[in-house]
């Protein structure tokens, strides 16, 4: 039987991780509570898979894996590993991890794609904390070859070996870091984006100017605000709140300008507009 990956949550990250796995020949079961979201996800996954092919980011001679979509978490039983990619709210992650942990066989790796909630906090939701690990994929995960792997204090050696095997299969390279709110990438990037948004909100500079300076002077590939639009501004705000609460640092609270954009439905590329305007959403 071909090993199957289960992905929980058919949002930007869930569909991107699904496209990554399919492109490397792994069949995927994509789970979401909303059938309409799943239907849109099929088209989104197809577009992202083609995007990966366009950029030469899929291995040659490997037939794409088969996609199955379902509203039933129970269909995750029997999979190689389960990736949790639901909304960045601790209660939602707790609920889905609790449910899936009771359904899969011991030794099935449970991966959270959280961008900021500590793995050991999520470990309280699962029956076997040693099976749980964090893999922080970046968007678009089918193009970015590096991932941040977060080993919780209770993550087992066997889980880490399985993670390495999975990442090899997916053609990704992982950097393993210790558990902490926001790990390394979000802890560094998110406050920078928050400050960049604050500068735009204060009228110090336009989004284009902020990004041009960070790219032209400091070597950032696209600038923090284009990156923010790629991540999704709602997710950024949620992640900043999660870090702020856990670090006890109000500096991480999302600034007014960021919250205003979220409130106006300007969520970044996925909604067609954020700090910038977009056509033909690609994520």
């Amino acid at each position: 039987m071909t090993p199957r990956l289960t992905v929980l949550g058919a949002g930007v990250m869930g569909t991107g991780i699904t496209a990554l796995a399919l492109g490397h020949g792994l069949p995927v079961t994509l789970v979401d509570i909303d059938p309409a979201v799943l239907e849109a996800a099929r088209a989104s996954v197809d577009r992202q898979l083609r995007h990966a092919q366009l950029l030469g980011a899929t291995p040659d001679g490997v037939a794409a894996g088969e996609l199955t979509t379902t509203t039933s978490v129970a269909d995750s039983a029997g999979s190689l590993a389960v990736v949790e990619a639901v909304t960045e709210h601790a209660e939602q992650k707790d609920k889905i991890l609790r449910e899936v942990s009771g359904l899969v066989a011991p030794g099935t790796v449970l991966i959270s794609n959280t961008s900021g909630i500590p793995i050991d906090e999520l470990a309280a939701s699962v029956e076997r904390p040693d099976d749980l690990v964090g893999i922080h994929f970046m968007n678009p995960s089918y193009l970015i070859k590096m991932v941040e792997v977060v080993r919780g204090p209770r993550t087992g050696d066997r889980t880490m070996e399985s993670v390495q095997a999975l990442l090899d299969r997916l053609g990704r390279r992982g950097i393993v870091v210790h558990d902490s709110p926001g790990f390394v990438t979000s802890r560094l990037l998110h406050p920078m984006i928050n400050t960049a948004a604050r500068l735009v909100g204060e009228g110090v500079a336009s989004a284009e100017q902020v990004d041009a300076l960070m790219a032209g002077c400091l070597g950032h590939p696209t600038g923090p605000l284009r990156t923010a639009d790629l991540i999704g501004l709602d997710n950024l705000a949620d992640s900043l709140v999660a870090m702020s609460e856990r670090l006890g640092d109000d500096g991480y609270r999302p600034c007014d300008h960021l919250l205003d954009l979220v409130g106006a439905g300007r969520l970044g590329r996925k909604s067609g507009a954020g700090f910038y305007e977009y056509d033909g959403t690609t994520t």
Binding site: L54, L143, R269, D279
Partner: protein, 98 residues
């Protein structure tokens, strides 16, 4: 490079296609775009914009870009894209192959 026979077969249509593609790209670049300009060299053809262009071509010209046609070399210049559109439109029975 655009081959002469593609242009010659239907010059009016190719001009229309080129015009629509150029207008789309110029709105994105906020600058004039020449038909033979290498869009990767000029910085417009980023990894994210490349797929936006594919989606634009598909929805505007009723084509499906799949399989071996999903290569960056088909999108380097306006001329490249005009040639791709002409080929996929003229090659009806294969255009929808997934």
């Amino acid at each position: 490079m655009t081959t002469d026979n593609v242009i010659d077969r239907d010059p009016v249509d190719s001009d229309v296609v080129a015009g629509k593609i150029t207008a789309y790209l110029e709105a994105k670049a906020k600058a004039p775009v020449a038909h033979d300009e290498d869009l990767a060299d000029s910085g417009l053809l980023t990894s994210m914009v490349a797929m936006e262009i594919v989606v634009f071509l598909e929805s505007t010209f009723g084509i499906a870009v799949v399989g071996g046609d999903l290569k960056m070399r088909n999108f380097r210049t306006v001329d490249d894209m005009v040639a791709l559109v002409a080929r996929l439109r003229g090659d009806g029975e294969n255009a929808g192959d997934a």
